[in-house]
Every structure is written in structure tokens, then in C-alpha cells.
Subunit: 218 residues, 2 copies
DNA sequence: ATTAAAATTTAAGTATCCTTAAATTTATAT
DNA sequence: ATATAAATTTAAGGATACTTAAATTTTAAT
């Protein structure tokens, strides 16, 4: 185990790489809510520790070593999330923050034991894949951003972004969970909002909200 | 939540006060495995934060504020220990270190939820009492140090010291658990060792080992 | 009561990770 | 192509929590 700060940088970079987003100083600073200068400082350290490839002003990449380490942290995080949700009974919008703290404080033995208890899950409560011990990642089903779904089409919720608790809490309140069937009834160009059907309710949601929800179409 | 270091100082001081041991720089340094100079430094900070009463060269005492905070940390630690032992199935000698990390990374909501799952336990897997949310402490049954038990007397294991994993692991291996009946068969002045009966086995244990085990006599 | 040993504090310095402000480099718009 | 905006880095500095070495105070032994 290294320090918490290193672990946070690595897992942010890892998640950005997984999302095919170019990793730059700026975006790391925003994700971690610290100054760009602090990020530059730290990138040099991570680089000299062989965890990332870094050249001034260029994009950042994890090395094999950095990626392996990051996968361990992301794995811990997502296993904790399921555990907290399923075994402890914490709601959707609480598990992320709690897991974010716990991920830095748990031994591999504990994580493995919890994983076993959960019967080796592949996806966390938000639909994100859980890296295996060897760093391999369960394949995500193809999904469509809800904001791109056309009027009349329907599908099941397969993943939601997990970075905003207010968003997650709102989803819970409107009954939107993983696996729920959603039909797009109408789309308003005026404000990019969507009229969707969940269960027997029809709800209007903003385009921004929709863009954080991913659907398995058909 | 303050920082981890502060929490570690406070819970060590708290545990020393509970054991009626005078709290001095030296003993804190030993418990936390850091230099005396570092402890002096930190004591000044804790004092200026109103968490302890501190005068140069004098004994240290928690203030009300410090004691309340320490009780929260000790509570978190001991609740995690039971959870890890009973729910997750970690062995006796693993729960302390794991709980020691987790105690700094868990919200009150999580601890309360776990406490509820465990049905409001009063003692942790080593027999130590769990401070309640209001800081009150379940009363310990009167106990006798095993090294003080006379030949022929017997009783049940009610508490063991939890600071050495090798010790705890050894207890597990000889089948010594909380609640087990122990009879003192013989004591050797030569090396202060004891011959004890546990279950149907007779074992010789050192005086030092015995002094870390506490018995409910009769 | 005096002295030696032990405990404690002070002093000076280090590593980590952050800050703001200024300087530099890169990207974008026309 | 060049000006301007945006991104990034450098520089200087701060808080935290350590370290070792030296100085001081307390404790314990005789």
C-alpha cells in the first residue's frame, strides 16, 4: 500500500483511460478538486516512481505498473460499493463516498474475502465493471446514452455515472435502478429534455440527466 | 473527521486512561512507534485544539472534548472488529490491524448501520467494551489476570489483550477463545510458567502469555 | 542530598502534498 | 499567420507530522 494521494491520482487516471478520455493536468485537477500546479508536482513524482509516462505539456499515460496498481484500487472501491449496498444496506447515493474512503484502508485479504461473500460479482451497483485480481476487466455490454435514444425506442438501464450523489439520489426517488425498463416517449428540442416512461410513470428529465444514464437498447 | 494521526493519538490516550495507566510522552511514543520528540510536538497541537490538558513534563489528560472524540474512534474500531470477525469471518488475529485502518475511514452512519446489523453488541472479539454513541461504556465483569489465578482454581476467559497478533494467533491455535473454561493445574516458580487445562488438553504457557489473559473466576 | 539515569523538550531539518502568482507553452479563432 | 485564450509549468511558500541530536527537567538510587 502506498499513500492515499497516490492511489487517488492513479484511480482517476485509470478511469479516464477506461473512458477513452485524454488524460491531462486540467482534468485531473478538476476530478480531484485541487490546483493544476499541485497536479503537475504530483505527476512528476508518479513519473519518477514509474507509475505513469509523463512529458511536460503532453498527455499522461499509466505504465503497466501504474495500471496494475490502479486496477487494485478501483477493484477495492467497486467491491466495497457492492458490499455496502447489498450486505450493509446503504443506499445508492451513499456507497460511493464511503467506498472512496475505505478503498485506501483495506488489505487484499479483506477484499478477496468480501468478493467471495458476494459470489464474485462482475459489476458494481452503478454498472461499472470490477477489475479481477489479474487486472482483467469484465466486458461491458454495449450501451447507448439515454440522451441519444430516439423517440419510441426502449431499453434497460445498464449503467449510470456515479460521481454525483444528488443525481443518484434523484434517480432513486424516481424509481430508476439498474435493470429498469425505460421508454423514450418524447424529446423537446427547446431544452433538450426527454419524456420517459419508467414502470407506469411518465417523467420529464433534463438532457444533462439523461446523458449520465446508459441503456441496453431493444 | 479530523486526520488519522490525531485520531490515533486520542484513542491511545483514551485506552491508557481506561486502563488507569498514567499517560506520558514515553508510553505514547512506544504505542505509536514514533519518537518522543514527535509526541511532544503533537501534544502541543492536541492541547491547542482543546483535546487534551498538557503542561510540560506533566501527565496528560483528555478533555471532555478529547474524550468524546476518542470514544467515537474506539467505538468505530471495536464495532469493525466484531463485524470483520462475525460477518466477514476474519480470524481473531487479523481483525485488529484491519479495524485500525478502517476506523479512520468510516462515517457515523456506516458504523451505526453495522452496529444495528450486529444487534448492538457490548464487547468486541477480545472482550473490550464498546463505547455507546453517548460515550458511555458497558461495565466490564470483574476479572482476574490468569497469571494470578491459584493452582486448582478455574474460570472462563473473559478478555485478552489485543495488541500482539502473534499472541492472538497462538491463542487460536491452542483453542483458547472467549468463554473457554480454563483450570490452572500447576505453576512453576522456576520460570513463572503455568500448566493449564483447556477442554481436554493440558498446556504449559509462559507467565507473560498468561498475564495477557483475563479470567472470570469460579 | 547528590548524582546518575531516564524522560522530556527544544532545535534544526526532511518529505509530502497542497496553495497562489507569475511565466511559459499550446490550442483556437479569425 | 498571428493574436488571444486556455492550459500547463515554475517558483515560492505553508501545514502536517515525522526525524536525529542536544539541552533540560524529572526520577530514582544510594
Amino acid at each position: 500500500m502506498k499513500n492515499i494521494s497516490t492511489e487517488n491520482y492513479l484511480s482517476e487516471i485509470y478511469k479516464l483511460e477506461q473512458s477513452k478520455i485524454k488524460v491531462k493536468t486540467n482534468i485531473i485537477a478538476k476530478k480531484l478538486d485541487i490546483s493544476n500546479a499541485a497536479v503537475t508536482d504530483m505527476l512528476k513524482k508518479l513519473s519518477s516512481n514509474g507509475l505513469i509516462l509523463y512529458e511536460r505539456y503532453k498527455n499522461i499515460q499509466l505504465t503497466k505498473k501504474g495500471k496494475d496498481y490502479a486496477a487494485v484500487i478501483v477493484r477495492r472501491h467497486r467491491i466495497w460499493e457492492i458490499f455496502l449496498n447489498q450486505i450493509v444496506g446503504l443506499p445508492w447515493d451513499k456507497v460511493h463516498d464511503e467506498a472512496h474512503r475505505l478503498e485506501h484502508s483495506s488489505s487484499d485479504e479483506l477484499i478477496d474475502r468480501i468478493e467471495e461473500m458476494l459470489n464474485y460479482p462482475e459489476f458494481d451497483p452503478h454498472g461499472d465493471p470490477i477489475p479481477a485480481k489479474d487486472g482483467s476487466i469484465p466486458k461491458l455490454k454495449e450501451s447507448t446514452n439515454l440522451s441519444k435514444v430516439k423517440i419510441g425506442e426502449w431499453g434497460k438501464v445498464i449503467r449510470v455515472n456515479d460521481y454525483d450523489n444528488e443525481f443518484l439520489n434523484y434517480l432513486s426517488r424516481i424509481g430508476l435502478k439498474l435493470g429498469k425498463k425505460i421508454t423514450v416517449k418524447d424529446k423537446l428540442n427547446f431544452d433538450n429534455s426527454l419524456l420517459i416512461k419508467i414502470g407506469d410513470k411518465q417523467i420529464n428529465i433534463s438532457g444533462k440527466l439523461a446523458s449520465n444514464i446508459f441503456i441496453d437498447l431493444n
